[in-house]
């Protein structure tokens, strides 16, 4: 038990830094980069919280975690209670503590951020969740009496899981359908082991199983079972579609068909889901990057994950090719920083025009053009313009295209009476997440387009609230 310090004293404590693996070492393994706070550091960090009367941090959190209460419990050393408090609003605390862009959310809203460094909320969240997991005493919230209503969740990514968690607590019988063989969506196939160990996702899923949620893998809704069949033949009362934005975009430039050109989705799926980085143990092959030159096209988190994975697979040179400057990069600052430390080479203001291949159809190079920033476009970002005559060919052996994803049409194409927009995303009411089809809700990336884990979880919670209302009243 530690006494609260006066506010002045609290602001004098510097923001605590999370220990991490040395760059030279971590660039060659898939172990987690950030090592987590020790109890002492977590204690010290929690002292910094000003315990605001109206905590802005909670408003900044898309799922509304009661951050002040959690931090209070940490300061008092009540870690398990803190974890239980966290779980009231967040079904995946160990995950979000690792992958949320906190600087734009809770930490961005923290009052301390105005004059000092913000409270390291993400680190504390992660500490609490890890502590709980390591003790094995998971404080699962109480479940309401069973209502007898059946709900189907399509997709087991962050949106699906958070919706499933909330609905299950409200007493509904929840089944989550997943097309792949493992639960977790992007948490399993997208985010690499060195940022989010898969064992943590598996444990969180086990916790949800213990809450009574049924998970069914290998079911492709739209193919194995359609939405209509879920209602008519399998007797579900409501359906939440959270299939995400998993359709890879290609650049449609010459040479993209060459062997050695991957979509980021394929590259990361092979590495993360199929564990191709461990060829002695796992059967799925991946391009042998050892001693090769690898280029990743794009500047988002997916590009950072891909490039850092390529380095760990043994690439001699790993490049990021991005058409704007570093300032415009959508990737988290922390990830860009980590990538640089590990030796990733950034080629900003370069745009690929063509992939070049040899006579066997294998990739051998990429033709790039240098760019400069022109006038600001309607999004407020300065538009990159090619510099004439600056084309050159850079030799590379493998490329990953990480320029974004679109809506996978599998569910929509077999549910023709559900409205979609011109990009194929499902149209859902902003507040209730209802689609135009009775009983069907949709949320996460399949509505908003590719966004973050925590925004998808926020959408899952909104959907759960509105589905609960529909299930109780039957009104549409």
């Amino acid at each position: 038990m530690v006494d609260k310090l006066p506010p002045k004293e609290r602001t004098k404590i510097p923001r605590q830094v999370m220990p991490e693996q040395e760059a030279c070492q971590r660039a060659h393994n898939f172990d987690e980069v950030n090592l987590g706070l020790t109890e002492a550091i977590a204690q010290r960090e929690s002292q910094r919280c000003l315990t605001c009367a109206d905590p802005k941090c909670t408003h900044g959190c898309p799922v509304g975690v009661q951050i002040r209460e959690v931090v209070d419990l940490v300061r008092e050393g009540e870690y398990l209670s803190a974890a239980a408090k966290l779980r009231e609003d967040n079904v995946l605390p160990a995950v979000t503590g690792r992958v949320c862009p906190q600087e734009n959310q809770c930490e961005g809203a923290c009052v301390l951020a105005r004059r000092f460094n913000s409270l390291a909320i993400g680190h504390i969240e992660r500490f609490v969740a890890d502590y709980e997991r390591q003790t094995g005493q998971v404080g699962l919230p109480e479940r309401a009496p069973l209502t007898g209503k059946k709900v189907a969740i399509v997709g087991s990514g962050p949106a699906g899981l958070s919706c499933a968690g909330d609905l299950s607590l409200k007493g509904h019988e929840v089944t989550v359908f997943e097309a792949l063989h493992e639960i977790g969506g992007v948490l399993i196939y997208g985010i690499p082991e060195f940022r989010l160990p898969k064992e943590i996702v598996r444990q969180e899923v086990e916790n949800m199983r213990a809450m009574g949620i049924d998970f069914q893998t290998n079911v492709v809704i739209g193919k194995t079972v359609t939405i209509d069949e879920l209602f008519n033949e399998e007797g579900y009362d409501a359906v939440f579609i959270a299939t995400g934005a998993g359709l890879p975009k290609f650049m449609n430039i010459p040479g993209e068909q060459l062997a050695g050109v991957y979509s980021a989705n394929e590259f990361l799926t092979r590495v993360n889901l199929m564990k191709a980085y461990d060829p002695d143990q796992y059967d799925s092959p991946i391009y042998d990057c050892r001693g090769r030159n690898v280029a990743i096209v794009g500047g988002g988190n997916t590009a950072m994950d891909s490039v850092r994975s390529a380095l760990r697979l043994g690439a001699k040179n790993a490049y990021i090719i991005y058409r704007r400057s570093e300032e415009e990069m959508p990737a988290r600052g922390e990830e860009v920083h980590h990538a640089k430390d590990e030796g990733v080479q950034f080629m900003n203001l370069h745009n690929p025009l063509e992939f070049v291949g040899n006579e066997e159809g294998n990739l051998s190079g990429v033709k790039l053009v240098k760019m400069e920033l022109g006038e600001a476009d309607e999004s407020g970002r300065r538009r990159p313009v090619p510099i004439e005559g600056s084309e050159f060919v850079m030799p590379i052996d493998m490329a990953v295209v990480a320029i974004g994803t679109g809506a996978n049409p599998l569910v929509q194409s077999t549910t023709p009476d559900m409205a979609t927009n011109k990009w194929g995303y499902i149209v859902a009411d902003e507040e209730t997440l209802r689609t135009n089809k009775r009983g069907v809700f949709a949320g996460g990336d399949i509505v908003s387009g590719a966004a973050t884990v925590i925004l998808a979880m926020g959408a899952g919670r909104v959907a759960a609230r509105s589905m609960h209302e529909f299930l109780e009243t039957g009104q549409w």
Binding site: G136, Q137, V138, A179, L180, H181, E206, R209, Q216, T217, N218, V219, V220, K223, T224, V225, G246, L247, P248, F250, N252, E256, Q257, L258, A259, G260, Y262, S263, N265, E266, T269, R270, M274, K275, P279, Q281, Y282, D283, S284, P285, Y287, D288, E360, G361, N362, N408, P409, L410
Partner: protein, 380 residues
């Protein structure tokens, strides 16, 4: 001391049958005795089944004297999805037919569609065409040619074993309608893929001519089934050991030269064969469909690993295909892309053939676990 498989069940309460699954190699009696001592139980019933190749896997049912309580926090319900094999038999030297229990897929499947299969926790995902299905029994039929590690491993499984993951039906179904005269061409194991479409074509009222090709007689598969569904059947072998001597394209050319009206051609088999068929029909502008076999990972359109180029356009074979207009397909690119992992595939296969033990252990799912589902597999 030999190797023991990791599959040991955990019980909740009381004196309930206890399952164990052991790989036995070397001195069996010694192994058994040691294993039983480890469990401090006594043998109740032994040797439910035994398999001949390379080494042996045995299942024992034991009665445990002291119930083992699960430790707090140990997950007990990680039972993976399982698809039991109901029937398995070799059709030819390395081609095996499996009937697999998968009721949802059986109900939805249409001719031309496929499944993705993963055999064990460390396995890869591979695509296999659904050759047949039985809605009543809830089974689908797949036919597998042992060409690499995963397919050879799969071909070592038998009725009673299970496949860990089967997902489907995937891909677009074949376009089935009354065309008139349809020529269905199957090369090698491609016959198994062409067969369901031939059946559907026949049912739609077409005159079905089937040309089946193989290197030699021993590699011909499904002859009786194909004969039953075809109006005319031509068997072609490269060495003339059965049917006529020559390639399937020679027969197709002969039919065209005879002036037979052909309204639609479906060709499924090795890529060089499909390409050759496309070249035979191109000058006569006979609509020709091929079923492509690029490398796949997920099979649901999320990765683009299976992209093929059809009429200069990029298509994902898993969602837009696998059947495409043969006259538009870039076969050269398909061949090049399919070679991408050749070295690695070769290494895997060689390593597997030297020591298949670990993989067989992983792939073998104990009968007893199915018999006593309350005992979750691999929980310790």
């Amino acid at each position: 001391m030999g190797r023991l498989a990791g599959s040991v069940g955990i019980l909740h309460i009381g004196r309930v049958p206890f399952t164990a699954c052991v790989t036995v190699s070397g001195n069996e009696r010694q192994q058994q005795a040691w294993y039983l001592r480890q469990l401090s139980g006594r043998q109740h019933e032994s040797c439910l089944h035994e398999r001949p190749p390379v080494h042996r896997i045995r299942c024992f049912q034991l009665t445990c004297r002291r119930p083992i309580r699960p430790a707090y926090g140990v997950a007990l319900h990680t039972t993976p999805a399982m698809f039991p094999i109901k029937e398995s038999r070799f059709l030819s030297g390395d081609v095996k037919l499996f009937r697999v229990e998968a009721p949802r897929i059986a109900r939805k499947r249409q001719a031309g569609q496929f499944v993705i299969v993963r055999i064990h926790e460390h396995g890869e995902r591979i695509p296999l065409t659904i050759a047949d299905s039985d809605v009543e029994e809830g089974t689908i039929t797949i036919i597998v040619q042992g060409v690499g590690k995963t397919t050879r491993l799969l071909n070592q499984l038998e009725a009673g074993d299970s496949i860990l993951d089967v997902v489907g039906p995937l891909g677009e179904p074949s376009e089935i309608k009354k065309f008139g005269t349809v020529v269905v061409i199957g090369g090698g194991v491609g016959t198994a893929i062409a067969y369901p479409t031939a059946v559907a074509m026949k049912q739609a009222g077409n005159h079905v001519i089937t040309i089946v090709g193989a290197r030699n007689q021993s590699l011909l598969i499904l002859e009786d089934e194909v004969r039953a569904t075809s109006d005319e059947l031509y068997l072609m072998t490269d060495d003339g050991s059965c049917g006529e001597h020559g390639f399937v394209t020679q027969k197709l050319q002969a039919l065209i030269d005879q002036g037979r009206t052909i309204d639609h051609v479906l060709a499924i088999g090795p890529i060089p064969m499909m390409r050759a068929v496309a070249e035979v029909t191109r000058p006569h502008q006979i609509p020709t469909i091929v079923s492509l076999n690029p490398i796949m990972v997920d099979g649901t359109g999320m990765c683009g690993g299976c992209r093929v180029y059809v009429g200069k356009e990029c298509k994902f074979a898993c969602v837009d295909g696998p059947e495409f207009d043969a006259h538009q397909v870039d076969f050269t690119n398909l061949i090049q892309r399919n070679k991408m992992y050749r070295d690695r595939e070769q290494e895997s296969l060689e390593a597997f053939e030297v020591d298949p033990t670990d993989d067989l252990e992983e792939a073998h799912h104990c009968h007893m676990e199915q018999k006593f589902p309350e005992v979750g597999p691999r929980t310790v």
